[in-house]
Amino acid sequence: MEIMPETRSRDREIEEGESGLPPGTPTERTSRLSGKIVKIETDPSRCVGCLSCQLICSLTYEKVFNPSKSRILIERGDDGFKINFTDKCTLCGLCVEFCVYDALEAKR
């Protein structure tokens, strides 16, 4: 696969570690956390409704991108978003790693 060529000046993507994030892709980071998460804390004020959490959850556990089959559910009301989890949630943490808005945080 072609490697992203541009790393200069304004387009520079920051090096591993510099971002304050642990190294690795979201999936790699999730696998390191496997079994260690005791709670997922939510900050609905940071949620923008991208539903990436529902998409990764449904693909992982139902083999299909389908927001209605996710174990994390985002609702939109007049006062913003609400974040809920169904009883089937196993605290795997994938939704946390795919939430780039930091509305979810894994507690170990």
Partner: protein, 638 residues
């Protein structure tokens, strides 16, 4: 046959006969036209019969979402539409951030919609999985965009996707748009009026079927790596903080804090740009508004309104469902015609002052076609039509009947002649900047960034040399003595625009966002890999880019049969007049009519088109595997 990524069906609905039919997506169609924008263009070529009226029942409304829409690939929610647009009778494309609509459409089981006919009374189209119903819209008709969406969600819940029109669309205002989920806009050339002409107030979709990809592991490996790069992007926090506010650096950042209430995103978007703004002081304190970006909401403040009045004004225009830029252009045009004595007091007693009260009054007159507002509702071409040829020279700079966005006299006050400026002239739909954008393009970007930038877009090396000639050696110009040796036009925007258009064509067909801050993370070979993993149809970078080329060429052919050619791609004289100070991209050469014409020559030549007529050649269309279009172009008689 089920193909990954695709929902597998094109839904045909006839509002006159209530006939509903499904057509299967074939692997051949998928590979040749990709989906989304590509399918919409292909369907428009088939279903928009030549020379039909844009507001006639025969003109189809075509809406689609590409094979990546509904997946987690970042920023893949785009919705594309096509129809004949009433402002200029072009067969036009329109694109919008899909919010929930695109994903819900795919989840309901459809890649595209083709809606024809005319309902006998106001209706909305409900598509909930296999339940497709034409429903009475009596309660929604006459309501604004926001109220219409609110009522739909109150009844059917979120994330039901909604495309709706306001009063402007109902009353066939020729720059009425459709709105996606009360946030994104679709089709400033009057797509909203096409819906209105069908008595179609809204389309609402909800789906529970899901979107499957053929090779989930391969697909997720690519997506995983994309997310990693996005999370490590040094400007991510800044974009999260300010959203698209960063897109217009002339507006102070502090102002964003005064307005911002919340941010909204399209599904799968990691860099959201839809804002909820709130007026914090003055007469309209507490008024909130969802906007395609907060920047749009404050744009009239650059023209003299207070920020609060600006937010209120754009809110009103959005709620009627009409394009802000076109509205301000028609106001400024009739004001000038009044000053010139061409628009007499019988039409309007005085020029329209640029204050909130007057603008809201005229917005209402236009949206409801009251009195002289009915003539403004016809747009710039309609005003010229009413007041005759002598009015034409006072018209704002236009391309195919729509006012140009950027440029020295445009609302964005930009005087460099880049691809976003040039592309407005050659875009079959008329003035619109998106097709001139590219992954990392922004104005005054240094030229040494371009080779990498062009590589992302899949531009062949041989073309890079033509796009970026050595300074001072604009070969053909020197050879023919058209440009003096002192002139240094370092970026050939004519040639580059072909590749910007093809890039948009590919992104739009797949469903990837057109905004630079999203598609900068993509590059041609990655898009080909994603498509192959999602669909199971193996395709390389060259083949994918060729599909983009095919889509744009077919769009052009659809317009050639409507009579469009080089004569319609010309520069508006006002765009080139002395005071406009248009200079080339590198800031060294004033753009004269000669240079502008040469850019046009180069554009057509790069596209492999007939330079004199500005239309695709038979050979080019055969090369793109479009035999039917090739025969049609061979018969074109102008």
């Amino acid at each position: 046959m089920e193909i990954g990524g695709y929902a597998g069906n094109i839904l045909h609905v006839d509002l006159s006969t209530h006939k509903v039919e499904k057509e299967s997506v074939t692997p051949e169609l998928a590979k040749a036209f990709i989906g989304g924008l590509g399918f919409s263009v292909k369907l428009a070529y088939e279903h928009v019969k030549p020379r039909i009226g844009a507001l006639s029942p025969e003109n189809p409304i075509i809406i689609g979402a590409g094979p990546l829409v509904g997946t987690i690939a970042p920023g893949t929610s785009r919705v594309y539409a096509a129809a004949k647009f009433p402002i200029n009778n072009a067969i036009a494309w329109a694109g919008a951030g899909g919010m929930t609509f695109g994903t819900m459409l795919k989840n309901a089981g459809y890649d595209n919609l083709v809606i024809k006919g005319r309902a006998s009374k106001p209706v909305y189209l409900k598509i909930f999985d296999d339940d497709v119903e034409i429903c009475d819209a009596g309660e929604l008709w006459g309501k604004g965009i926001e109220e219409s969406c609110r009522r739909v969600w109150a009844k059917s819940g979120w994330p039901v996707g909604v495309i709706t029109i306001g009063q402007a669309g109902e009353n066939l205002v020729k720059f009425a748009m459709s709105y996606v989920d009360n946030a994104s806009t679709l089709g400033r050339g009057g797509f909203g009026a096409v819906m209105g002409s069908k008595n179609l107030k809204a389309i609402i979709v909800k789906g529970t079927k899901g979107v499957r990809v053929s090779h989930p592991k391969r697909f997720m490996k690519l997506v995983d790596s994309l997310f990693q790069r996005i999370r490590r992007w040094e400007h991510l926090d800044e974009w999260h903080e300010f959203g698209f506010w960063l897109g217009l650096p002339v507006v102070p950042r502090e102002m964003y804090y005064e307005l911002n209430k919340a941010r909204l995103s399209c599904i799968s978007c990691p860099i959201s740009d839809k804002d909820v703004v709130e007026i914090k002081k003055g007469k309209y304190k507490g008024l909130t508004k969802v906007t395609t970006t907060a920047i749009n909401a404050v744009t009239p403040s650059l023209l003299g309104l207070s920020v609060e009045d600006s937010v209120r004004c754009t809110g009103t225009l959005d709620d009627y469902g009409m394009d802000m830029f076109e509205f301000f252009s028609v106001i400024s045009f009739v004001n000038e015609l009044h000053d010139q004595g061409i628009v007499t007091d019988q039409y309007m007693e005085s020029t329209i002052p640029f204050d909130l009260e007057s603008l809201e009054k005229w917005a209402q007159k236009v949206a409801n076609r009251e009195g002289f507002g009915g003539i403004l509702a016809e747009g710039l071409p309609g005003i010229i039509n009413t007041f005759g040829e002598e009015s034409k020279r006072f018209a704002p700079p236009m391309a195919k009947g729509l006012s140009v966005y950027s440029g020295p006299t445009g609302p964005l006050l930009w005087n460099r002649f880049g691809t976003m400026e040039f592309s407005q002239l050659v875009n079959p739909r008329g003035a619109h900047v998106a097709a001139g954008g590219s992954p990392t393009y922004y104005a005054v970007r240094p030229l040494d960034k371009f080779p990498t930038h062009l590589d992302r877009m899949g531009v062949p090396e041989s073309a890079v040399e033509r796009i970026l000639p050595e300074p001072g050696h604009w070969q053909w110009g020197l050879r023919f003595g058209l440009v003096s040796p002192e002139d240094k036009v370092g970026l050939n925007v004519g040639r580059m625009t072909k590749y910007s258009e093809n890039w948009l064509s590919v992104l739009g067909s797949l469903g990837v966002c057109a905004r630079a801050q999203i598609n900068r993370f993509y590059y041609a070979s990655l898009l080909a890999e994603l498509y192959s993993a999602a669909t199971g149809i193996q395709i390389g970078k060259e083949e994918l880019m060729k599909a983009g080329d095919r889509v744009w060429n077919l769009l052009k052919v659809a317009n050639v049969r409507e009579g469009f050619g080089r004569k319609d791609d010309g520069f508006s004289p006002r765009w080139l007049e002395e005071k406009s100070q248009f200079i080339d991209y590198t800031g060294k050469v004033k753009i004269s009519e000669d240079i502008a014409d040469r850019f046009l020559d180069d554009y057509y030549q790069e596209r492999g088109w007939d330079v004199e007529r500005g239309i695709p050649t038979r050979e080019k269309l055969l090369e793109l595997d479009l035999p039917e279009a090739a025969e049609e172009i061979a018969r074109a008689t102008f």
